[in-house]
Symmetry: D2
Subunit: 347 residues, 4 copies
Amino acid sequence: MIIMKSNATPQQVEAVIAQIKAMGLAVHLSQGVEATIIGAIGETHNIPVDRFEGLDGVDIVQRITQPYKLASRQFHSEDSVIPIDGFTVGGNDIIVIAGPCSVESRSQILETAHAVREAGANALRGGVFKPRTSPYAFQGLGEEGLEYLAEAREETGMPIVVEIMSETQLDLMLKYVDVFQVGARNMQNFNLLRALGETRKSILLKRGLSATIEELLMSAEYLLAGGNKQIMLCERGIRTFETTTRNTTDINAIPVLKNLTHLPVILDPSHATGHADYVAAIARAAIAAGADGLIIEVHPDPAHAVSDGKQSLKPEKFVEMVNQVKAIAEVMGRRVAPIQKPVTAGW
Amino acid sequence: MIIMKSNATPQQVEAVIAQIKAMGLAVHLSQGVEATIIGAIGETHNIPVDRFEGLDGVDIVQRITQPYKLASRQFHSEDSVIPIDGFTVGGNDIIVIAGPCSVESRSQILETAHAVREAGANALRGGVFKPRTSPYAFQGLGEEGLEYLAEAREETGMPIVVEIMSETQLDLMLKYVDVFQVGARNMQNFNLLRALGETRKSILLKRGLSATIEELLMSAEYLLAGGNKQIMLCERGIRTFETTTRNTTDINAIPVLKNLTHLPVILDPSHATGHADYVAAIARAAIAAGADGLIIEVHPDPAHAVSDGKQSLKPEKFVEMVNQVKAIAEVMGRRVAPIQKPVTAGW
Amino acid sequence: MIIMKSNATPQQVEAVIAQIKAMGLAVHLSQGVEATIIGAIGETHNIPVDRFEGLDGVDIVQRITQPYKLASRQFHSEDSVIPIDGFTVGGNDIIVIAGPCSVESRSQILETAHAVREAGANALRGGVFKPRTSPYAFQGLGEEGLEYLAEAREETGMPIVVEIMSETQLDLMLKYVDVFQVGARNMQNFNLLRALGETRKSILLKRGLSATIEELLMSAEYLLAGGNKQIMLCERGIRTFETTTRNTTDINAIPVLKNLTHLPVILDPSHATGHADYVAAIARAAIAAGADGLIIEVHPDPAHAVSDGKQSLKPEKFVEMVNQVKAIAEVMGRRVAPIQKPVTAGW
Amino acid sequence: MIIMKSNATPQQVEAVIAQIKAMGLAVHLSQGVEATIIGAIGETHNIPVDRFEGLDGVDIVQRITQPYKLASRQFHSEDSVIPIDGFTVGGNDIIVIAGPCSVESRSQILETAHAVREAGANALRGGVFKPRTSPYAFQGLGEEGLEYLAEAREETGMPIVVEIMSETQLDLMLKYVDVFQVGARNMQNFNLLRALGETRKSILLKRGLSATIEELLMSAEYLLAGGNKQIMLCERGIRTFETTTRNTTDINAIPVLKNLTHLPVILDPSHATGHADYVAAIARAAIAAGADGLIIEVHPDPAHAVSDGKQSLKPEKFVEMVNQVKAIAEVMGRRVAPIQKPVTAGW
C-alpha cells in the first residue's frame, strides 16, 4: 500500500500506478481528502518496498502482507514437524541439543557425548569450523573434528549438529553432518543459504546478532525457496546496550515466531546469556514461553575449553538443567523427547 | 583499580596516588613491565570512576567492587522479604499485581478490581497521573482516581499500586497509596527518588527504557540510602532495534538481578511485549526464570481503554494466565500468594 | 489510517468507524479486495494510535500526519529564531555555549567564564543541581552555585544556561537563569515540561538517551503547548551497543530535525563522545551537517573536575575548536555569533 | 590482566598462572588486600579473553593491550596511504567513490559513470552480486555486470569498486575488479576475509550493522594477517532504535578509528541515512570529522532503480554535494583528489 504525499501531483500518482502494473499487480486507488492511497494487489511478497520508496510524491510505503510467504503461518497454518534421526522437532516433543562449542580432541567429544546422552540430550553439537573474531584464535579441527563427531554418533546414537561457514565446506560436511547449523554471523550469507536450500538436510538457522525477527524469517525463506523444508529457527540473543550478559535473550521472539511462522523455534541460552550460571534459568524460561527445544554448550572441563568456557555447563549442571526443563515441559503439556535408539557402544 | 598508560610518567602516577589518598582511600601500587596498576582500597562504592578517568596518564579505570552497596547481595546476602498489606514479596510466594493502565471511571476500576481479585490477584494497579508522550493525550483522573482506587481497596481488600510522577504529588498520594510505582521514564528522576527514600512506603521501581541493570541498582540505592528498605525492582522491557514487540523483555535480567541483589524482582509482561497475545507466554517465562511476581494490565473492555488497550488482557484471559503461572510456580517449588483477607463488599 | 485484518467482520469495521466519529473526526472508507482501510480525517495529531490498536479486527494503525503540531515545519515553515540576551539562535548565526559540567567554586566558574568568553563563547553553562547516577556522588552547589553564575554573567556579559531537574526548583532558578536546560534524563519528565511551558524563558531541551526523534519533538510539543515558543533542541548522543565512546552521536538527527521542525538544533559533542580528544571533530561535523550551535564542556583543570573531567576541554583546546568551527561555519555561509556586549569587569 | 575474586583460593590463582605460562607468556603477580591481580605479559593480542573467563575464581579479565596488532596505530604509527589506479587513499587527498547500488544495464552504468566522473568522482561503484534480504528480489547481473563495469572503466578511466559476497566469486572477479568491497553483512564472513587477505587487491571493508569498532578492526586484522596491506575501512551506519533514518551514522567512529588505526577511513552516507535528502549533510560532516573519503550512491533515475532508489542521488544533486565537500576539504587543509587520467572515450 502506497500513501502519497498530500501535495503529490496526478502525474506522480500515475507513475506509481504504472510501476505497480509493470510488476504484474492489480491496483486499488483510494483518493481521500487528506491522502491518496494506492494499493498493490497480487503476489506482493516478492516486491521490495524500496521499488516504491524512491518514486516522487510517495510518502509512506506500508506492507499489509508479509514479505515472506513459504515461512508464514498464513501459507502453512499447521506447525511443521521435522524428522531428525530418532526424534522429531516442532511437534509435541521438546528436543535438547548439547555439546561443546568446539570439538577439541577425540576424548573430549566422546566424553561429552556420553555425558549429555546420559543426561537426556537428543543430539550432539560441536564446532569444527569456528567463526572467531580474531584471526589468531583457534579456528577448529576441520575434517578431523568431523571424524570424531561421527565416532561419537556411532557410539551414542545421537545425530550431530555442526556449523557450516561457507558453501565451499558443503561437500565435505554432507558426508558427516545430520543437521547443519547456520551461525548468527552467517544468517545473511545468502550464497550459503542458497546452497543449503538445495540440500535436503535439516538446518538450524540462528538469528543474527542484530537481525530483526522479519529478517530471520526472510533468511528462512531463502532456504525454503530452494525446496528444503527442514528448517528450525534459533533465538540466541541479540546485541543491545546491556553489558552484564553477553547478549540479551529476546524471549519475546518465542511467542512472536510461533505466531508468525509454522517452523520450530529453538533457544540457545548459552550464547544468549554468556554465563553458565544463568543458562538453566533461561532454558526453563524458553520452554515456559513455548520454545520447541534448546541448544546448550556442555564441556567436561569448561575451565580449559578453547572457546566459550565461561558459558559452558559442566555435565552435572547439565543434568540438573534437563531435569528442570522436563518439569516445565510437563506443565506445558509436552515432554522432552525420550531417547529411542540404544547406545551402541560404551566408552 | 586504575591502569596507567604504558608511557605514563612518574609524576602522573604520583598525581593519581595523591587523588586516591585525598579521598580517604588506601593505595596499592603494582608496577609491572607493561603496565602500572594502582588500586584504591576502602569505601570505593561512593567514588565515581570519572574522578580518575580525566587524570593525565590514566588508561583504564576498572571497578572491582560494585558502585552500589545497600542494594548488593554482598552487603545483604539474604533475600529481602517485603511485607505488603496481606502478603509478602520476595519470599517463597509469587505475587500478582493487576489492573488497568489508567483509572478511567468508578465503574471501570471497581469492575476490574473484582474481576482480578476473583482470578487470584494480590494487589490492584491503576494510574491516576499518566506520563503520556503527547500533551494532547489523557493525563489521568488525579485525586478523583485515587478515591476510586481507595473504594476498590475497601471492597476487595487488595492494596493499591499507583505511579507517582513527581515529588510534588507525594503528600496527596501518601493519603491513599499502598505501593508507589516509579515508572520507567522516572527511574533517574533523582529528586523523586530522594523524596520516596524518605518515606516508609513500599516502592515498585521500574527499569528505564534504556537503563542498564547497574543503573537500575544505582536508582534502588538512592531509595535505600534514604532509609526505605521496601524496594521491589521491575523489569518491563528495554528499547532495542526489534519492532514486532513494543519493547524487548530482558529475561536475562531476572537471574542477573537475583544474583546481584537481595531485592525482589517483578516482571511486567504487558509493557515488555505490548501485545495481549504474548503476555501469558512471557508471564510464564518470568516465573520459570525466577521472578518474584508479575504486574499485568487487565481491562474489562480493552477495545475502549483510553490507554494501552492493545496490551491489556480481558479478565477471562487473565484467569487463564494466572492458572498457567500457578502451575509453573509449583514446579519452581513456590506458589502464587493466596488471598488472605476476605472481600469486604460485593459490587 | 486504520488497516483492518483481512478477516475483519463488518461489525468490527463499524466499531472502528464509530470510535473515529466519537472523537469528532470524519471517516474515509476504502474497501479493497485484500484490505479495508479506514481513514480518520481532522485534527488527528492529538489522537494516540493506541486508541485504535486495541480494537478487534484492526491490523495496522498508520499515522499519515505527525503526532505533533506546533513543533512541526508544516505548521510553521520558517525557521524559529530565538532571541537570547545579546544574540539569537536559529538564524544565520551559530552559537557556542561553554562552561564546566558542574559549578564547583567561585574561582572555578569565574576563571572558566572569562576563558570561554575570550575564546568566543556566547553563553555560559554550569550545573548546580546535578543528576548523578550514584546517590554518593557530588550533587551540586545549589543556590550558592547560582550566585556564582550570576556573578560570572555580570563580569562577562554572557547569559547563563543551567539544568533544572524538578519543577520544585523553578521559583528559585527563575531569579537567576537565562536559559533552562532540560537534561536527557528529564526529557520525558512531563510535570517539569508543563511547568517550563508556562514560563517565557528560553529552554534547551536535550534528547533522552534512548528517545526517538519523534519523542523529542513530542516533548517540545509539551513546552510549546504551554505557550513558550523559545525552545531549542539538543542532540547529545544516544545509547547503542558501541562502547569506545560514551554515547553515539546521532549526526543524522541534525538534518532530520531541520527537515521536520522549525526549532533550532544544537549539538553537545562533549556528552555525545565522552572524550575530550573527539570533541573538536564532532563539533566541526555538527556545523557541517547544519546545526545551529554547540554546547561544550570546558574546565580549567579537567583532571580535578568533580564530574565529566574526561570529556571537558581545557581552555586552550576550546580556543582551537572555536577557530575550526568558525572556518566550517564560513563555508556553510554562516558565522559564529560575534560577542556584542562588552565585558563589564575583569577578573 | 586477570582480577581474581576476593575469595579465590591459592589453587585457583595457581591454575591461572599455569594457564598463562602454558601459552608462552610471562606472569606478573600482584596480591593486594582486596584483590589478587595476575598480569599476562608478551604477545597477548592473540589470546582470546575467554581462555581465562571460564577459570574458577576469576572475576574480571581486562585487556590492556588491544586484541589486534597489525591494524593498530601502536604497531604502525604513520597513516597508511593506499595507491589505487590514478589516486591514493589515506594521505592528504579525499576520494569520492560513486555509482549505482546495482548495475542494471549497460546504458545505466555508462551514463552514471560519465556523470559522476564529470562531477569529480575518483572511482566507480556498482554491485553485480547483491545481498538482498529477500530471495525474490533482484540478485544482480553477475559477470554481465562486470563486463559493463569494465567498459565504463575503459571509457572514463575510473577504477571500479565491486562487492564480493563469497570466496567462490573471487576468481571471476579478480579479472575485472580494482577494489573489492566487503559488505556489512559479510564483515565477519571469515572465509571470505581469509581469501581476500591472500590477494593483493585493495579492499573496502564495511562495518557490520551491529559490529563494534573493535570487531571492525579485528576483521581488518584478518585481511592484514594474510599479507594484504591495502585495506580501507568504511563506516556505513549502525542499527539502533531510531527509525526516521535507515541506520544511525556513527560519526564518532571517524575520529575514534583515526586514533586507533593507521588505515584510511571512508564514510557511506547513502546507507548511513537511507534518504537522498540527508546524504549531502552527512557527507560534509564526514569530511569535517576527518574522514578520508566518501562512497555515494548515484543513479540517473532513482525512481526506477531496482534497489536503493530512495537513497540514491540524481547526478545534479551529486555535483552539488561534491562542491560542498570540496569546500569543507579545503578548510581541513585537504583536497578532493583531482582527476588525473584523461577520459578515454565519449559516450
